[in-house]
């Protein structure tokens, strides 16, 4: 059954589930676009700098829209939801919060491009699967938002897929580094499909397909790509560093949020 904003506000159980799902979606895009922005000026070449920053900007736009939907549902002010919540309150998948590599943006940033490509490609495909599912979500504002996100995501996916297949096919050091990056990403990949402890509730309300359906769709979509680059993916993916949907996170998230919120928290009432 379709729910408008007004319907959702009247049904407490449904309302809570919609909020839960929106936090997962918003926090995923928010933290990954931050990690993407840390690559600014450091990408392999200038064309990539332009592309990657554009993708990060789109992705932050998606996060902002999901936070706006949360605000509409009475979950709080969109800017505060983005900037003020502590690490323990965040619902993003752990894979997306991990640092880009050794060093920091300001000091010796020895970031790992292979990890960036694999993480972003696997995420873009997982997000595409979710967005396809959300187009049929029972929550109408979310279903409408999914149509808009999908059009922008099309280009992100195309971009990362191109990098992935080219580096995988390049052989030599590129292949070796890509395979190590895949291993690291697979260790936490399951966190992308997890819907957390409230997963069954979300699916019961037809807000989104089940974890199993999402994961199977991802494998189905990715299998031909892996085959084309002669790579066998394992049957099972991990959640080695915890399930972010349930508030489990690494120190990487805490330090990212401290930097992200630094200016905002100087003067939360300032108008930008």
């Amino acid at each position: 059954m379709t729910h408008t904003l007004v319907d959702a506000l009247k049904d407490e159980c449904y309302h809570n589930s919609a909020i839960e799902l929106l936090f997962q979606l918003a926090d995923d895009d928010f933290i990954l676009s931050y990690r993407g922005s840390e690559w600014l000026g450091l990408a392999p070449h200038i064309e990539e700098d332009v592309a990657f920053s554009s993708i990060s900007q789109d992705t932050m736009g998606h996060a902002a829209m999901f936070y706006q939907l949360l605000q509409d549902l009475g979950a709080g002010d969109a800017d505060e939801l983005a900037h003020v919540r502590s690490a323990g309150e965040r619902k993003n998948a752990v894979l997306l919060e991990k640092v880009n590599g050794l060093g920091t943006y300001l000091a010796e940033p020895h970031y790992d491009w292979a990890f960036a490509v694999v993480r972003n490609y696997f995420y873009a495909q997982a997000k595409k699967i979710k967005i396809e599912s959300l187009k049929n979500s029972s929550y109408q504002p979310l279903a409408e938002a999914a149509v808009k996100v999908s059009m922008e995501l099309y280009y992100h996916l195309l971009h990362w897929k191109t990098w992935f297949t080219q580096l995988m096919d390049a052989g030599g050091e590129a292949r070796t580094r890509m395979e190590s990056a895949i291993k690291i990403v697979l260790d936490d990949l399951d966190g992308l499909f997890s819907l957390g402890n409230s997963g069954p509730e979300l699916t019961k309300h037809s807000l989104i397909d089940s974890e199993d359906t999402l994961r199977a769709a991802w494998v189905n979509r990715m299998s031909p790509v892996f085959e084309s680059v002669n790579f066998n993916i394992p049957e099972k993916f991990g959640m080695k560093n915890g399930n972010g949907r349930n508030g489990e996170h690494t120190v990487d998230l805490k330090s990212a949020l401290d930097i992200l919120g630094e200016v905002y928290n100087l003067d939360p009432a300032a108008s930008w």
Partner: protein, 160 residues
């Protein structure tokens, strides 16, 4: 009529980054509602993360405030229906070219390819250099005829 005056005012609001084209010509205006309570304007963002949205909102309010009878002006960005590149009007396509930006490419249904003409020489002999450009809504192309790099509005459609 008040509505015509408001539309006239909206026509003066340009894209902050492409000052030859108005937000109406870009296809951003979805709804203009004039009631005794005030003037309500609903706009569609081209891309969700566009940093120019707040500037556009401010410029719309400033422009419409000039209309004497217009009161209680509200500007809302909505994403349903989604903005698609075919919303750019015929005049809008010409305005983009004046600025040196190719209008959104045509989709060739038979081959699934997109075709963009060079805004300088009109040649179709162009190649895509980077899908992503200086702003979220533009790509970078190159004209093999007149050997100029140029930008084109990124094609966006619900088929994607």
């Amino acid at each position: 009529m008040l509505k015509d005056k408001v539309l006239e005012a909206l026509q003066t609001v340009k894209d902050p980054e492409i000052d030859s084209i108005s937000i109406i010509e870009l296809g951003m205006l979805e709804e203009l509602d004039i009631t005794p309570e005030g003037v309500s304007i609903k706009l569609l963002p081209t891309f969700m993360g566009c940093p120019a949205l707040e500037i556009i909102r401010k410029n719309v309010i400033t422009a419409v405030s000039q209309v004497e009878e217009a009161e209680n002006i509200t500007v809302q960005f909505i994403f349903h229906p989604p903005w698609t590149s075919d919303r750019v009007t015929k005049i809008g396509r010409e305005r983009l070219k004046e600025f040196g930006i190719a209008p959104p490419p045509r989709h060739i249904a038979e081959t699934g390819e997109w075709e963009a003409d060079c805004p300088y020489c009109g040649s179709t002999y162009t190649t895509l250099e980077n899908l992503f450009g200086p702003t979220a809504c533009r790509s970078i192309l190159y004209c093999k005829s007149c050997k100029n790099p140029f930008e084109a509005m990124k094609p966006v459609s619900t088929l994607m």
